[in-house]
């Protein structure tokens, strides 16, 4: 197995006094898709939000432990979370384009933050990202309309394009298809498989078939613990843990 690109070591997270993650150790190898599964409230979102240091933005929330990104611990005191977040893209469960920005402005928002202003570059990146997100054909004639004028599924693909525009090596997706229709879902699944060529994808999902279809590895969380982690094919066919088997066969959760 190749060297991991991102690695959580002994990661713990709290909301005030309540512990949401307990001693998580988890590695992600480059150009892989990892699915995070588990019943509601088990800490999947908390975990991905620890990976780009967004967790700590919630009032009262704290995290402890290490997350090694390309050899460096992002929880070192000297590390600026802003720079980390530019390397790790994120797509949220609910589509959330910036309401005051146009479709194009939404796509290039991250580039502008990084100081890129050249019109030709912005235009080029807009087209590339929207094509990647399978949205270009639907919006190419109305790039100046507000991002919120799109349908929910289109908005989510716009948010994916926004995350892809800065070409992050890692992409976090927290239930990106849970609010979408089957067609949009299929498009996004296809995209994720494509993205593997250029990046590492970590995706939370409640949909077992989806996890089985597109992921290389699967991690199963339960009550803040990482119960099982392995090749998706084996987790779904011959799980090592009784609790994993119960969950994926629908006995609880």
């Amino acid at each position: 197995m190749s060297e991991s690109i991102l690695k959580a070591e002994n990661l713990n997270a709290w909301f005030g006094p309540v512990q949401a993650l307990k001693n998580i150790d988890l590695e992600f190898s480059p150009h892989s898709v990892t699915a995070l599964i588990g019943p509601s409230g088990c800490g999947k979102s908390t975990f991905v939000r620890c990976l780009n240091r967004l967790h700590e933005e919630v009032p009262g929330a704290t995290a402890q432990g290490k997350v090694i990104l390309q050899g460096k611990n992002i929880y070192d005191v000297a590390v600026d979370p802003v720079l980390i977040r530019r390397k790790i893209g994120m797509v949220f469960q609910k589509p959330n384009p910036f309401p005051s920005l146009s479709i194009m402005e939404n796509v290039v928002a991250g580039l502008k933050l990084a100081g890129i202003r050249r019109k030709s570059i912005l235009m080029e990146v807009t087209e590339r990202s929207l094509k990647q997100a399978a949205l270009w054909d639907e919006v190419k004639d109305k790039l100046n309309q507000p991002g919120t004028s799109l349908s929910g599924g289109q908005q989510q693909r716009l948010c994916i394009a926004r995350a892809l525009a800065v070409e992050p090596p890692i992409l976090l997706m927290d239930e990106p298809t849970s609010a979408l229709d089957p067609i949009s879902t299929a498009k996004i699944e296809e995209l994720v498989v494509q993205l593997k060529k250029n990046m590492t994808v970590i995706m939370v999902t409640h949909n077992m078939q989806q996890a089985a279809r597109i992921s290389d590895k699967t991690a199963f969380f339960l009550l803040g613990d990482l119960v099982e982690f392995g090749e998706t094919s084996s987790v779904f066919t011959v799980p090592r843990e009784k609790r994993t088997e119960q969950y994926i066969t629908g006995k609880f959760g």
């Binding site: 977040r85 959330n96 910036f98 933050l113």
Partner: protein, 307 residues
């Protein structure tokens, strides 16, 4: 066993409740209409004698000569209000951003409370403080400094009296600050958390997040907050009357005494003896009533739209 209340009873409670609310609203509308009618009635003489338009456009207000032109007091009202907005608006937005987006929760609560307290201080106290503390300080330190540095501008010329447009604008800005900042805080609080998080997740610094996720989406609401502040500043009477110097004139210097629509009424109503003087003051009152009504309505509509 608990019996569900009969449908009829529930309906009756509703009917009584809505009946009371409806009568109260009707009462408020009635009061508004009655004020408008009173002002209209009282100002009839002035309108007849001078004409509405020429009343607004003539620039001489001198009761001794029986000259009643409203332009100087309109000028005073507009300039003092704009001056106060110029100071209070950026300050209020800054305070609201600091309290909502940056300060730790505890500090935000305490500071927010103190700012809101500014709104609870009676206007006459602002006036007294202005006369005894602010004006002497402005006269001795601030105004001479501005005159020596910026005296080449018409805005900062002439003797430093202390009283005048500049002082009125300053006091007003302090008085409208809590209005604007509390509305601005509501506007910011209405922006969903996820908006801010998606900006942060894209690699925005705190300030960039504020620009991208907070300020850009709250333009309409902030404009409403500004209009509400303007509405307050236009009509504010007591404190302004105490510090503005009460001379109805149109001059370029902010340090010169001036007069506003509200302050001229407060100043002269008690001593006005001739019918035309009283009626002219009522006409100024009618103008002020209409202008503040329209300003505040626009403000309210803008703020509603945000929520």
């Amino acid at each position: 066993m608990i019996k569900p209340p009969k449908r009829k009873d529930v309906r009756r409670a509703d009917r009584v409740f809505f009946g009371v609310i409806r009568s109260l609203s009707a009462l408020i509308v009635l009061a508004l209409v009655s004020m408008g009618l009173f002002l209209f009635d009282a100002s009839e003489l002035a309108i007849k004698k001078n004409g509405f338009v020429s009343f607004i456009l003539s620039s001489e207000w001198d009761p001794v000569q029986d000259a009643y032109g409203a332009l100087p007091v309109i000028f005073g009202t507009v300039v003092s209000s704009l001056l106060s907005l110029l100071i209070a608006f950026p300050l209020s937005v800054g305070i609201a951003l600091f309290l909502n987006e940056i300060a730790p929760a505890k500090l935000a609560r305490v500071t927010g409370f103190l700012v809101e307290m500014l709104a609870a201080i009676p206007s006459v106290i602002y006036g007294l403080w202005g006369i005894f503390v602010l004006l002497p300080w402005l006269r001795v330190h601030v105004q001479p400094f501005l005159i020596s540095k910026l005296g080449f501008l018409p805005l900062f010329q002439g003797p430093a009296y202390g009283v005048g447009m500049f002082s009125a604008g300053l006091i007003l800005s302090l008085m409208i600050l809590p209005t604007i900042s509390s509305i601005a805080r509501e506007v910011f609080a209405a922006i969903p958390r996820i908006q801010r998080e998606s900006a942060l997740a894209l690699g925005a610094t705190r300030w960039e997040m504020i620009k991208l996720a907070v300020l850009k989406s709250s333009k309409g609401g902030l404009f409403g907050a500004m209009m509400l502040g303007l509405g307050r500043a236009l009509g504010e009477t007591m404190a302004v009357t105490m510090v503005i110097g009460n001379r109805a004139q149109i001059v370029s210097s902010l340090f010169a005494p001036a007069q506003t629509m509200a302050s001229v009424i407060a100043n002269e109503y008690a001593e006005a003896t001739s019918d035309i003087h009283l009626s002219s003051l009522a006409l100024v009152g009618l103008l002020l009533f209409l202008v503040t009504f329209v300003t505040s309505s626009i403000a309210r509509i803008l703020i509603w739209r945000v929520k």
